[in-house]
């Protein structure tokens, strides 16, 4: 059964001056899915997100959040939306609690009970009465999420949620976002310029460049057949000969050999190499780099 559509964007355009920044975006978000917005800096991710949350007026096109058109029923639409646009900028001179209280007062029917709930959910209960200026970036990020979740939104929009976090923080954030989507049934839209992040986090992804969506697909489909395997062999020429007989190889300048990534065949190739007396010094699965993916998808067009 198809899940319910929570966020629907149709032919969204934005013209600033004479330049068309966003050239007709169309996509839908469904309940319980994490949707990635992938593109290089300057592709129009942030502009699009700002249109989705009502900070910028679209030149044309429509945005529906849970059935309410943002241009006609701003209150009704924004009721179901939680967001962090760029960094979670909160009032540094207020305590975490007062920040949450401040934003809770702007929502109907959100009381102290809910503030306690979200504080516990993001694990900030101990420091919630400290001033925000004493918080670490990770804590601010969590407070930002708590703020976004206050109104029990159906749609959560996060712009570069792992920006500036340390590896532990990134992992924590990723797990938390997956939890929100899977357990709480939220639709989460995440933007990023890092392919690896999107790959680990998202169910579906839209690739955006120069204000248009190049492709929307599930992560598996987009990345299948694009992953590579990197081999470092000794002795090199013998190894090259053996491996070359098994599959297509590509020789790189740094003395490695690249083949396609194939889960079934890799152990077999490895066995053959070892049997031929070649030491396998390194076997490494390599993600396609965003740039390569772009080159492939855009047919050689460069990213600005």
């Amino acid at each position: 059964m198809e899940k319910k559509i929570t966020l629907s964007v149709k032919d969204l355009r934005k013209v600033i001056g004479r330049r068309e920044i966003i050239k007709g975006l169309t996509f839908d978000l469904r309940e319980g899915e994490v949707f990635g917005f992938l593109g290089p800096n300057g592709a129009g991710k942030t502009t699009t997100i700002r249109m989705l949350v009502g900070l910028i007026k679209p030149t044309s096109g429509s945005i529906h959040i849970c059935g309410s058109n943002i241009a006609e029923d701003f209150k009704g639409a924004l009721k179901n939306l939680g967001c962090i646009v760029e960094n979670p900028e909160l009032y540094p001179y207020l305590s975490g609690y007062n920040n949450l209280l401040h934003f809770a007062r702007m929502l109907d029917g959100v009381g102290e009970g809910r503030i306690k709930e979200v504080t516990a959910l993001v694990g900030l209960s101990e420091r919630i009465h400290d001033k925000v200026k004493t918080y670490s970036l990770g804590m601010r990020q969590r407070l930002g999420i708590a703020q976004a979740l206050l109104g029990n939104p159906k749609v959560l929009i996060l712009d570069e949620p792992t920006n500036g976090l340390d590896p532990a923080g990134i992992r924590e954030m990723r797990e938390f976002i997956r939890f929100l989507a899977e357990q709480e049934g939220l639709s989460v839209l995440v933007s990023s310029h890092l392919l690896s992040e999107i790959q680990l986090l998202c169910d579906r992804v839209a690739i955006i460049a120069k204000g248009t969506i190049i492709r929307t697909d599930t992560v598996q489909k987009l990345l299948s057949n694009r992953e590579k395997m990197v081999w470092r062999l000794d002795p090199f020429f013998k190894g090259k000969e053996v491996l070359g007989a098994l599959t297509g190889i590509e020789e790189k300048e740094d003395g490695t050999l690249w083949t396609e990534y194939n889960e079934q065949m890799t152990p077999e190739w490895n066995k053959q190499l070892v049997e031929a007396g070649v030491s396998v010094l390194e076997m490494n699965r390599k993600m396609p780099v965003l740039e390569d993916l772009f080159l492939e998808l855009t047919g050689g067009e460069t990213i600005e």
Binding site: R50, V53, G54, L55, I56, K57, F74, K75, G76, A77, L78, K79, L81, C83, V85, E86, N87, E89, L90, Y91, P92, Y93, L94, N98, L101, H102, F103, R105, M106, L107, D108, Q147, G151
Partner: protein
């Protein structure tokens, strides 16, 4: 709406702006009190140590004698009667006319702070009310709530008006409480002259009335409040239009100071009277000082300020509700 205003108040108090303003006012009042006290002292030394009550009594007798003379004009008579009333009041209430009480100090302080000092204090709050949300980036959170933009701005404006009222109250209270330590707290009933009109022929005193000082002070406070609201609204507009708090403050400060300079030199440039900044000294009309440009009077100045106020408010709301936020 209540909750939104509560929010703005929470932020205003957390920023401790009002405390800073109260401190500045406190320090200035102490300075002026000392200056005034010094002046009174030198005056006393000049006059010698003789009892001021005897002198005052003698003056009253003199004035009464002159009044009984039939040769003086009616107008002069009226003036004499007024000064007689004043002198009698001072004597009855044991106030030395050469030494001001706290209420008089408060009046002088208000009259001198209306065109620069109070507007400056108001600016401290008004100029970053909106622009600070931009510089902190919190405007993105503020405007992505299910609350219409005009309501967000209105809550800020209401907060501004409340803060301005509070500043005026603090000014009144501190100038009274601090100066009273030195000059005494009496003198609210002291009579003061008002109702002068400046006409082409000169000062017209036909409508001159004797008012109790407390009534006069209430009027002064009202006028100061009105000026503060207008200046506050203009800074508020700049805060909406210009994202940098410093730039907004600079523009407003330049306008205020140019107003102070212009008032001294524009008497021949008549259309300058439509600038808001030459119309700020409303309390001068109460005392009968000549206006900077001919043809200006209290109702004219108030109308000019009212037009500026309305325009600033309109522009603020139009821009804030329409503008794209990056």
């Amino acid at each position: 709406m209540n909750k939104l205003v509560q929010n703005e108040m929470l932020k205003l108090i957390a920023k401790k702006r009002l405390v800073v303003i109260a401190l500045i006012i406190g320090v200035l009042v102490i300075l002026f009190t000392y200056a005034q006290y010094k002046q009174v002292q030198t005056q006393r030394e000049k006059l010698g140590t003789s009892d001021w009550r005897t002198i005052l009594q003698q003056q009253i007798v003199d004035t009464t004698n002159r009044l009984s003379s039939s040769r003086i004009s009616d107008e002069w008579k009226k003036q004499l009667q007024i000064s007689l009333q004043q002198q009698q009041y001072y004597l009855d209430h044991d106030i030395n006319p050469a030494e001001p009480g706290a209420p008089t100090f408060m009046r002088i302080f208000l009259e001198n702070s209306i065109d620069l000092f109070i507007p400056l204090m108001v600016m401290v709050i008004a100029s970053d009310l909106v622009s600070s949300e931009h510089s902190l980036g919190t405007v993105k959170l503020l405007l992505t709530r299910p609350v219409n933009r005009w309501k967000v701005l209105l809550s800020k404006y209401i907060t501004l008006c409340l803060a301005i009222s509070l500043i005026i109250a603090i000014t009144g209270f501190l100038s009274y409480a601090i100066s009273g330590v030195v000059f005494g707290y009496k003198g609210f009933g002291a009579p003061i002259l008002t109702g002068f009109h400046v006409t082409d022929e000169g000062l017209n005193t036909s409508d001159v009335k004797l008012l109790s000082l407390w009534k006069f002070l209430l009027m002064d406070l009202g006028l100061v409040w009105f000026v503060a609201i207008v200046v506050g609204t203009l800074s508020f507009m700049l805060s909406v239009l210009i994202r940098s708090t410093a730039a907004g403050m600079g523009v407003m400060l330049a306008a205020l100071i140019s107003g102070a300079i212009l008032s001294n030199m524009v008497s021949s440039w008549e259309s300058a009277k439509y600038f808001f900044m030459v119309n700020l000294r409303l309390t001068d009309y109460m005392k009968g000082n000549a206006p900077p440009i001919e043809g200006m009077n209290l109702s004219f100045s108030m109308s000019v300020l009212l037009v500026w106020w309305a325009a600033a408010l309109l522009v603020s709301f139009m821009v804030f509700t329409k503008k794209d936020v990056y």
